[in-house]
Amino acid sequence: MLGAAIIVFRETLEAALILGIIAAATRGVLGRGRWLTAGVAAGVMGALLVAGLTERIGQMANGIGQEMFNAVVLAIAVIMLAWHNIWMSRHGAQMAREAKQVGKDVSSGTKDLSILFVVIALAVLREGSETVLFLYGLASSSNEGWSSVIYGGALGLAAGAAAGIALYAGFLSIPSKWFFSATSGLILLLAASMSSQMAHFLVQGDVLPSLASPVWDTSRLLANDSALGSLLHALMGYDAAPAGMQVVFYLCTFILILFGMRWAQRPITHTH
C-alpha cells in the first residue's frame, strides 16, 4: 500500500504543483474555479483514454510513438504557457488596476483561462496516464488486492494535492506588489522545464542528438528521486544528469519567452 502511495504521490506531484501555480496566477479572475475543475476533469478522462491506448501509441512512428506523443503534449503546453506569460505581461498591469471592479473584463480573462485549461488538462493527462497504468498493474498482480491499491492511491493523491495547495497558499502570502512577478517567473521556469523534458523525449526517441549525455552529473549531490530533487524537477526542471540538448532547449525557451514578455511590455511603458 505504501509503495502505491509513494509512486502515486511522485506522479501527481508535478501536476498538482502546476495546478497550484496556475490557480495562483489566475487569482481573482471570474469563473476560475469552473475552468480549473474542467481542466482536471478533462485531464483525468484523457489519462484513462491514453492509458488504454498505451500499446497502440507505443507502436506508432516505428516504436517511438510514446516519445513523440509526450513531446507533442509538452510542446503544446509550452506554447500555451508562453502565450499566457506574454499576454499577461501586456495586460497584467491593466488587469491589476481593474481588479477592484471584479469581472470588468470577463472576455479577456476567459480567453486566458481557456489557454490555462489546456495546460492543466495536458499536465493531468501526462502524469495521470502513468498513474493509471501503474495502479492497474499493481492491482492485477496477485499479491496486492484492489482495496489496498485504492487506499494507497488515494493517500498518494491526497499528499500530492496537499503539496499543490501548500504551494498555492504560499503564493497567496506573497505581497501583491511581488505577486505578478512571482507567478510569471515560476510559469516561465515551468515552460522552460517542460521544453527540456520535450528535448529529453526527442533524444530518447533518437529524433535529436543528445549533444552530450550527460552534460553534468550531480546525482550524488542532489538525486532526481530525492524529495528536494523531485520538487525542483517539478518546479524548475532540475535534472541531475541532463543531455546537452535539454540544456539548449531549456535556455532557448527561457530566453525566447523572456524576450517576448519584454517585447509585449514595451508599448505600455511607452504610453506612460
Binding site: 509503495g3 509512486i7 498505451t54 500499446e55 507505443g58 512512428a61 516505428n62 516504436g63 517511438i64 510514446q66 516519445e67 513523440m68 502513468e130 497504468l133 501503474f134 492497474y136 498493474g137 499493481l138 492485477s140 498482480s141 529529453h200 533524444v203 530518447q204 526517441g205 533518437d206 529524433v207 535529436l208 542528438p209 549525455s213 550527460p214 552529473d217 546525482s219 538525486a223 532526481n224 528521486d225 535534472d239 541531475a240 544528469a241 541532463p242 543531455a243
Partner: protein
C-alpha cells in the same frame, strides 16, 4: 519568356537539398559523414516531419525557370535557407554514430530484468529492445541514463541509450522497484 504552367515542377527530393548543403559546407565533413547525413536526414525527415511532396509544392510556380532558385530566393530568402541547412546539418552531425546501431535484447519476466547486467561498448549508441513478458505494464527508468519509458504488458519497446562514457548506469522498473533492478555497464 514565361515558363509553361503545364510543365510539372521537377520532383524535389530531400537529397537534393542535402546535396546543395553538402557542397556549401563540405569543409566540415569527410565522405563517410556525408553519406551518413544523407541517409539519416532523409530517413528522419520523411518519416517524422514531412513528406517530400510537401516541399515540391513550393516549386509549383511558372514565373521562374529554375525551381531550385525559386525555393531559395523567393520563398524563404537566402538567409533563411542557409540557416535551415545549417540546422539540418547540425541535427545530422551524429549520423556517423547512428549508422551502426547495436541492438541488445532485455527481457522483463516476473518483474525482473533478464539479464540484470547489460554490457555495452562505451562511446557508442545502443538500441535496447525491452520485451515485457509479464501481463502488467512496467516503466523502464534510469536516472543516470536519463531514460523513462513505459513498456506495456506482453509487448516490446525500443530505448536508445548512449553514447556512454565507461561506467555503471543502474536502471529499474518503476512499477516494481523492489525486484526489477539492473545495470548497464559501459566499457
Amino acid at each position: 519568356m514565361p515558363h509553361s504552367s503545364l510543365d510539372a515542377p521537377p520532383p524535389f527530393h530531400y537529397r537534393q537539398l542535402i546535396n546543395c548543403a553538402r557542397e556549401e559546407y563540405s569543409f566540415l565533413f569527410n565522405d563517410a559523414t556525408k553519406l551518413a547525413i544523407r541517409a539519416w536526414v532523409g530517413h528522419v525527415s520523411e518519416k517524422y516531419f514531412w513528406k517530400s511532396e510537401l516541399i515540391s509544392e513550393y516549386f509549383i510556380d511558372d514565373r521562374y525557370e529554375n525551381h531550385y532558385h525559386l525555393y531559395e530566393r523567393n520563398l524563404l530568402g537566402e538567409p533563411v535557407v542557409s540557416f535551415f541547412r545549417i540546422c539540418l546539418l547540425m541535427i545530422a552531425m551524429p549520423a556517423g554514430a547512428l549508422a551502426a546501431d547495436r541492438e541488445i535484447a532485455l527481457t522483463i519476466k516476473d518483474h525482473r530484468f533478464e539479464p540484470a547486467e547489460v554490457r555495452v561498448p562505451a562511446g557508442e549508441k545502443v538500441k535496447l529492445m525491452v520485451h515485457n513478458q509479464d501481463a502488467t505494464p512496467e516503466e523502464f527508468e534510469s536516472h543516470k541514463l536519463n531514460r523513462e519509458k513505459i513498456v506495456p504488458g506482453n509487448s516490446k519497446a525500443t530505448i536508445y541509450i548512449g553514447p556512454l562514457s565507461p561506467g555503471q548506469y543502474p536502471f529499474f522498473g518503476e512499477f516494481n522497484q523492489k525486484t526489477a533492478q539492473g545495470v548497464v555497464i559501459a566499457e
